[in-house]
Symmetry: C2
Subunit: 166 residues, 2 copies
């Protein structure tokens, strides 16, 4: 892994940009395409995966929070969410303070499915982290954090760092 192609100083600004952009595109694609087989078995897509993931990470989340986090419209969410509820992967409880709210939770079934989907991805990512080394992982996180849109960075980082660190 000591390769001139990773030496940042040997790149012009334009080269840095191209490399970052292309690597991000291909790595994202290869990483994200993993769970598709499992998902297809259940008739679900990536949108369902996302919902399962974020509800799993934020139990009791409100629908409005999820909408904002995913930056999609009510209608888009509605389709996937209602399927997941129908099939028993997600449970919607009525808010205790505000009875208009629907609080979202994974059912046991939903948790099982999520674990199954994540299995390959987790393996894939942890192997990549090991291969690149801890120092690189730190850099990876720092650059990704810096790539977040300025107007929602703080909120996203708060969510990402939830239940982490010491």
């Amino acid at each position: 892994m000591t390769d001139i192609f990773f030496e940042v100083e040997k790149h012009s600004d334009h080269q840095k940009f191209l490399k970052g952009m292309e690597l991000l595109y291909f790595a994202y694609r290869d990483f994200i395409s993993w769970p598709d087989d499992v998902l297809q078995t259940y008739g679900f897509g990536r949108a369902h995966h996302r919902v399962l993931h974020f509800v799993g990470r934020n139990p009791g989340m409100k629908v409005a929070e999820l909408l904002k986090l995913l930056s999609i419209t009510k209608q888009s969410l509605s389709r996937v969410l209602s399927t997941l509820v129908e099939k028993g992967h997600i449970r919607q409880d009525i808010g205790d303070q505000d009875r208009r709210q629907r609080l979202l939770f994974l059912t046991d079934q939903g948790q099982t499915l999520l674990d199954k989907i994540a299995e390959h991805q987790k393996d894939h990512m942890l192997k990549a982290f090991e291969k690149a080394g801890g120092q690189s992982v730190e850099g990876f996180w720092k650059v990704l954090s810096a790539l977040l849109a300025d107007d929602n960075r703080d909120e996203i980082l708060a969510r990402v760092n939830k239940d982490m660190g010491e």
Copy 2:
């Protein structure tokens, strides 16, 4: 940027996975959504952008090469490619050795459009790189390279590193 949330050793494997996955998702989304405004002005989408980008990076590329690189079907490519050709952003030359081939090139108009689309993205990425620091950028590249699918990593890295290094 010295934050306990970037200290890799303070994370369990599962936490590392969650953080990597979520940051990758949000950063990719925020990065990729930038050029949409420019594209919409022209009636183009992300698929058009990708084609412009890769043809720009690999002048004289064959259609089959582009298909393989993008991992999409002929039909999918056909739609965007023919629009780009019609509107004068891409030129198709008949192969000199093999007259069945169509070699793809950006026209001046296509190059101008690509530069315009890339303008914001380039700015965005270079700012993120500067903010994170050179060491982090190296880590970013290393992790992304390790995240590539094993069966096409070499080919992708060869393309990404084309015309780079010393």
